[in-house]
């Protein structure tokens, strides 16, 4: 490649951080054959980069990068008299993670059938029948593994999007178990037993048509057969972070910016040939909450304290903290607070039946909404919702 080196310019780069800056540099503009004029940046050598491709802080005396530090602090760290030894019981109570190699899997067992019953009771209202989603929460099943090769570039040409569900995308079954156990059901996590978690995991694998690696159907899962599950997309990710070369593999990607689309030159002139191709917004997303405005008008004091002068009642507090997760969310299908029609229909059953359902639980609603309030207190909350829906 023929290069011209006639055009030389000096870039003054603000060097505020005295210790980190390596002074300004005169950088060469290079004219390429295709007419572009570029400046190649000073690339930090691979060897000098950290594992994430970042530049290490320059350490110098009492400086780490631009910050001054107290070097004595570093030396005393080990001697600090804080922190208590964690007891075995404490560790056990919090040690909830589960790894793909089975580390952390508790003793337990659950069947697909048990999982289905649980799913219908505790999950279906958000995740849809058989994990199909469609209520504003993620679908858990469906799609083809092959769809991951799709790129939706042009819907008019028949392009389809990739479908990322448990069955098509998730690499490990352990992640399902751990996430269901620690994060679900969304309004009340950590309330499922280990057996229930095995059952739900088995059910979710079942609706995703996932079998054991020998091809046998999954009828139940326990801590022994769990590792016989191999997910369809188990080798769908890179770099390899599990083998002995994990850290090198990661650095090999992260410290080579050109591998993820970044570049190491600045094109300064003639960077686009011909007309500049401009893509405008075709379907503008609006509907910001609150609406967009840059006006400096009198907002009153209410914007700061929206409930100024308004003391939240006990019922309101319970509603906001507990009930609103379902009764303020249309997608879930519970009667919405303020929906007169829906509540009139509910009340046709008689107020005693409404109380009874609320206290004992009905459909997807857990007894007393999952609270441990007294019957009398919970009735007050029901009254509050009804009063707001008349």
């Amino acid at each position: 490649m023929r290069k011209f080196r006639h055009i030389i310019t000096t870039l003054s780069i603000a060097a505020i951080a005295v210790v980190t800056s390596s002074a300004s540099a005169s950088e060469k503009m290079v004219k390429l054959k295709d007419g572009r004029v570029i400046i190649k940046t000073h690339v930090l050598p691979f060897k000098k980069k950290n594992i994430d491709g970042s530049a290490p802080y320059k350490r110098h005396g009492e400086y780490v990068g631009p910050y001054r530090i107290n070097p004595q602090a570093e030396k005393v760290a080990k001697k600090l008299p804080y922190g208590q030894k964690a007891t075995k019981e404490e560790i056990k109570a919090w040690d909830i993670d589960v790894r793909p190699d089975g580390l952390g899997l508790p003793v337990g067992k659950g069947t697909v059938d048990e999982g289905e019953a649980l799913y219908e009771k505790k999950c279906q209202m958000c995740h849809g029948d058989f994990g199909t989603g469609g209520k504003g929460f993620p679908p858990l099943a469906g799609g083809d593994h092959d769809s991951l090769k799709n790129q939706l570039l042009d819907p008019n040409a028949g392009d389809e999007p990739p479908v990322r569900t448990i069955g098509t995308y998730w690499p490990y079954a352990s992640t399902i178990f751990w996430y269901v156990k620690s994060g679900m059901p969304f309004p009340h996590p950590m309330t499922l037993t280990d057996d229930e978690t095995y059952a739900l995991t088995a059910y979710l694998l079942n609706v995703n048509d996932i079998t054991f690696k020998n091809g046998d159907d999954i009828e139940y899962l326990d801590n022994k057969n769990f590792l016989n599950v191999v997910m369809p997309n188990h080798d769908g990710f890179y770099p390899d972070v599990d083998g002995p070369h994990a850290k090198q593999n990661i650095k090999n990607l992260l410290a080579h910016p050109e591998k993820y689309g970044d570049v190491t030159y600045r094109c300064m002139k003639n960077c686009i040939k011909g007309k500049v191709p401009v893509v405008h917004i075709t379907n503008e997303l609006k509907g910001f909450n609150p609406p967009m405005s840059t006006k400096r008008d009198w907002g009153g004091m209410n914007w700061i304290l929206p409930n100024a002068g308004h003391k939240e009642s006990f019922e309101e507090k319970v509603y906001n903290k507990v009930c609103s997760a379902c009764h303020s969310n249309k997608a879930i299908g519970a009667p919405m607070i303020g929906d007169k029609e829906a509540w009139a229909k509910v009340l046709k059953k008689g107020i005693d039946k409404v109380y009874e359902n609320a206290i004992k639980g009905v459909g997807a609603m857990p007894p007393k909404g999952g609270t441990n309030l007294s019957d009398e207190d919970f009735k007050k909350v029901v009254d509050y919702i009804i009063s707001k829906s008349k």
Partner: protein, 439 residues
């Protein structure tokens, strides 16, 4: 009553403003000073009435005139309720490099936990000599460090992979903010617990209802990771993880685990939900990138922007073009600006503090000629990495990656000063064909 008086006069004024405002399709027109009454010639209510007593509120608030400077949400960016959701930072209204705590962008996976600090603990266990439990007070008594760093959600700009959709800087780039953080380096805590040689990875987990957890390499934990309890001089806000948060400077917002309660050391990564099903980048060919931690070099022009157009400028007016640049891989080295959509570029000036893994302001003094522009910025950092064009990024990553989009952002400035979000690129299919992954 002073308040009543002032409110009435401002209502009147507001009405006058809205009558004169020219409504463009979506561009916002900033208020102009009213020409009718000279504010110097008239007595203002606040000069002829004593103001509020100093104890009106023990914890202060912004002026009520700033009520539009708030975080905003959009239903497409949240799950079914507002607990697994994101509130965008109004970066079009910010100055300098520090985000006020009440405006810091907020992403939660199980709602905002309100944790009693007396009941909160941080546990360090797994492959350590001596598993330890710290109270929040323990950590506050230890030697501390304060650093200025941005936190950015890797899904920032994720709505733009197939083309621009939002005509708003707040919604294009508002999943980020920058603050001064104070806390204890994680390496102090690990030294106290004694790291076993086979420990290569650390699981960080929150104590909120999502119990969100992520795997981090021990290298980062021994470098600049901190357990922070303060943000901009005060305790963390609940929505930022009060009382404790992990800070991993420059890395995905999601890795900066809020409500931090547990660090577990291990010999292998955990493959948590947020590092398998989410926060992985699907590339052409169907394989996804995992464990991609740093936020790449990036920049955006904040003035002008769709919310802050140049509709007030006359031909020949001098104006400052200003913006933000940042990199999770080091210090910003420089920023270039283009007025013609990236055909030709000129260097801008950096200004203010230029710190590693922090927001950095850039500036360019410009004479407005009243002619349409395609205005964009491009940053590069101390590793020599340069922000890519949209085409360069898509050629490598495709359009289904969701995360880590750092391509150049372009504003179309119209002759009347209106500003719209556009993209400079060929049709997606052409980019894909040239890159070789679409026949």
């Amino acid at each position: 009553m002073a308040k009543k008086l002032s409110r009435r006069s401002f209502l009147k004024k507001t009405m006058a403003y809205s009558a004169t405002a020219v409504a463009a399709a979506t561009a916002l027109v900033p208020e102009k000073a009213a020409a009718k009454e000279d504010p110097i010639l008239k007595k203002q209510p606040w000069e002829v009435n004593a103001g509020d007593p100093v104890d009106i509120h023990p914890y202060g608030f912004p002026s009520p005139y700033e009520h539009n400077v708030v975080r905003r949400t959009h239903e497409l960016l949240s799950s079914g309720d507002k607990r697994a959701s994101v509130a965008m930072c109004p970066i079009h209204e910010l100055d300098g490099i520090i985000t006020p705590n009440g405006l810091f962008f907020t992403r939660t996976h199980g709602g905002i936990a309100q944790i009693d600090p007396n009941e909160h603990r941080l546990m360090i266990h797994g492959l350590v000599e001596k598993p330890l439990v710290f109270t929040v007070e323990d950590l506050k008594k230890m030697p501390s460090e304060s650093r200025i760093h941005f936190i950015e959600c890797p899904a920032n700009s994720s709505t733009a992979w197939r083309g621009p959709q939002f005509n708003s800087l707040q919604f294009i780039k508002g999943m980020m903010s920058c603050a001064e953080w104070t806390g204890v380096p994680v390496r102090y805590l690990l030294e106290m617990a004694g790291v076993k040689p086979e420990a290569k990875w650390v699981l960080a987990e929150g104590g909120d209802s999502s119990h969100m957890a992520r795997t981090l390499p021990i290298e980062k934990m021994l470098d600049d990771a901190m357990v922070v309890y303060a943000q901009n001089g005060e305790a963390l806000r609940p929505e930022q993880g009060y009382p404790l948060r992990l800070l991993v400077p420059g890395w995905e917002g999601n890795l900066n685990v809020k409500w931090l309660r547990r660090l577990k050391l291990g010999d292998k990564p955990w493959h948590a939900k947020e590092e398998t099903s989410k926060y992985t980048m699907l590339t052409p060919g169907g394989k996804a990138i995992q464990y991609f931690w740093p936020m790449e070099v990036n920049s955006v022009i904040t003035n002008p922007c769709p919310e802050k157009p140049w509709t007030h400028l006359k031909k020949g007016d001098i104006v400052e073009i200003e913006g933000l640049a940042w990199s999770g891989q080091g210090t910003i080295k420089g920023v270039d600006i283009s007025f013609d959509g990236g055909k030709n570029w000129v260097p801008a000036k950096l200004k203010g503090l230029v710190l590693p893994k922090a927001w950095t302001r850039f500036s360019y003094i410009y004479k407005w000629e009243g002619k349409p522009l395609l205005l964009c910025s491009r940053a590069y950092d101390e590793t020599g990495t340069v922000q890519p064009t949209v085409g360069q990024e898509i050629a490598k990553m495709g359009v289904e990656a969701i995360y880590h989009r750092n391509a150049i952002i372009t504003w179309e400035v119209k002759a009347n000063g209106e500003v719209n979000h556009v993209e400079i690129r060929k049709p997606l299919v052409d980019i894909a064909k040239e890159a070789g992954w679409r026949k």
